[in-house]
Subunit: 113 residues, 2 copies
């Protein structure tokens, strides 16, 4: 229950910023050069680079440099640990509802006897 | 695409800490008093209170005070916006794979002609 997932912390931290989420959404469509990400958003290059570095550290994107051009691409499976964690929480919660249902049914039965 | 979801940023920020994730997992099982959350983990009360405040601000938990006892409970649906966002990213990505498949099939057809 109290397993440590440092990568999960990095992942959620990377997703906690609207600019980083919009960069990810953009890259989910197709890979892009850093300038492609900077120009339409009006963000300065150093700002974009800083966000890309957080995304790369979290394993959400890869970047490759060809001469002076750096291209970024999404790592699609990288969001899976976040999804798995959310699913686990839901199943714990649903298990709890089941238990409450079971208790309610037991109480009903006892009242009928 | 670049919709702003301040609540999504608060949500992912709240989930970016292992202690807060373990508190949520604990509360998914059943509501708990603040001391129930502090004692088994060895965390000091002010630390637990600080984490609870982040979770409450993100809408992930509710707390209620009865005399000197504060009880915390999870808000199960509060994780849904995070799940929805992850689903959206996956569908953009899968849409892109479909497009790549379509291009690959088109190229194959042209080679066969």
């Amino acid at each position: 229950m109290t397993k440590h997932h440092p990568e999960l912390s990095l992942l959620f931290h990377a997703l906690a910023d609207p600019t980083r989420r919009s960069i990810l959404t953009r890259l989910a469509e197709r890979p892009a050069r850093v300038t492609d990400l900077s120009e339409p958003t009006g963000l300065r290059l150093p700002t974009v680079m800083r966000h890309l570095s957080v995304l790369e550290e979290a394993g959400l994107i890869v970047t490759a440099k060809d001469g002076r051009v750096r291209t970024c691409a999404i790592v699609p499976d990288a969001l899976e640990p976040a999804r798995t964690w959310l699913d686990e929480q839901r199943s714990i919660w649903e298990g709890r509802l089941d238990r409450l249902d079971a208790l309610a049914m037991k109480a009903l039965k006892e009242r009928k006897q």
